[in-house]
Amino acid sequence: MKRLFAVVPLAVAVVLGGFFLWGLNPERDPSEIPSVLISQPAPEFDLPSVPGVDVPGLGRADLTDNPGPVVINVFASWCVPCKAEHAVLTRFVERYGLRLFGINYKDEPKDAATWLSDLGNPYARIGSDRSGRAGIEWGISGVPETFIVGRDGTVLYRYVGPIVGEEAVAKFTTALTQAGALDRELGS
C-alpha cells in the first residue's frame, strides 16, 4: 500500500505533463471554431448574380448533381487576403479543372465587378450576398472561407481564412483529393 502511494506524485506529474504537452502544441488553435456543417447537407440559400459580372447567381440547387464535388469560396473585394487567395484558387481551376463557385460577401457589385475584371474570374457562378444572410446560413465568421461540397450536397470540408502559403495549400489539396475533387486531373 505504502509503495503504491510512492508512485502517486509521479502519476500526477505524468498526467499534468500530458495536459501541458497538449496545451503547448503549436498545431492546436484554441480559437478555432468547430463547424457544425461538416457532414451535414449544405444550408438553404438563393443568391442573385452580381450585376456587371457575366456569371449566373448561386443557390442551394446549384450544389447538387455536379460531375464532382464543388468548392464554394466566400470572398469580397474589400478583403485583402482574398486577393492573395484569388491567385491560388485560379491556379486550382486552371490546372485541375476545379469547379469553383463564389459567394460575394457584403460587397458593392461595382467594386466586385472591377475586382474580378482586374484579377480575372475563376468562378463558374457567383452569388451576391449583400446583406450577409447567406454568410450566416453557412456559419462563417469572416472572409475568406472555403467549403468543399460533395455531389449530394453534403458539406465535406471547411477552411477558415485564406488558402495562401505552402502549408495551407497542401492542407487544402489533401482535402480536395480526399473529397475526390481532383479525380479528373488524375484520370486524364
Binding site: 480559437s31 471554431i33 453557412w138 465568421s141 469572416g142
Partner: protein, 157 residues
Amino acid sequence: MIRALFLIIMLGLPGLANAVEPDEMLADPNLEARAREISRELRCVVCQNQDIDSSNAGVARDLRLLVRERLTAGDSDTEVIDFVRARYGDFVLFKPPFKPQTYALWIAPFALPAAAFVIGGILLWRARRRASVEDLSDEEEALVAEVLARHGRRDEK
C-alpha cells in the same frame, strides 16, 4: 465640486459606449428587452470572448439584427437561440448545454472536490483510529509496575 462632477461624468461615459446602434433597436420595448437578453447569451464568432450585444464586429451586428428579426416574426427565446445554434454550433452559447459531451465539464467541479473530501476523510479517520490508545497487556502492566516501583522510591524525598 467641479472635479467631482468631472469624475462622475468621465466614469459614466463608458456606459454610453454601446455596440447596439439606434437603427437596430426594435420599437417594441418588450421585444427589444428580450433581444438584449438573448444577445448577451450569444458569443460573437469573431471576437470570441465577447457577447454579440457588446461587440462591434460586422457579424455580431448581423446576428443582432437576425435575433430581432426572428423575435418580430414571433419566435420564442429558445427558438431564436436554437436557430443561431443550428448554424454556429454550441460554441456560440456562453452557457454550454448539459449533454453527454459536456458531462465532464458540468459534473467535474462538483465530483472532484467530493472525491477529494471522501478520500481525505477516509485517510484521516483511519489515521486517527490507529493513533487511539489501547489498554496495556498484563505483561506491560507488570513491567510498568516494576519500573514505577524501582524509580518511584528514588524520587521520594
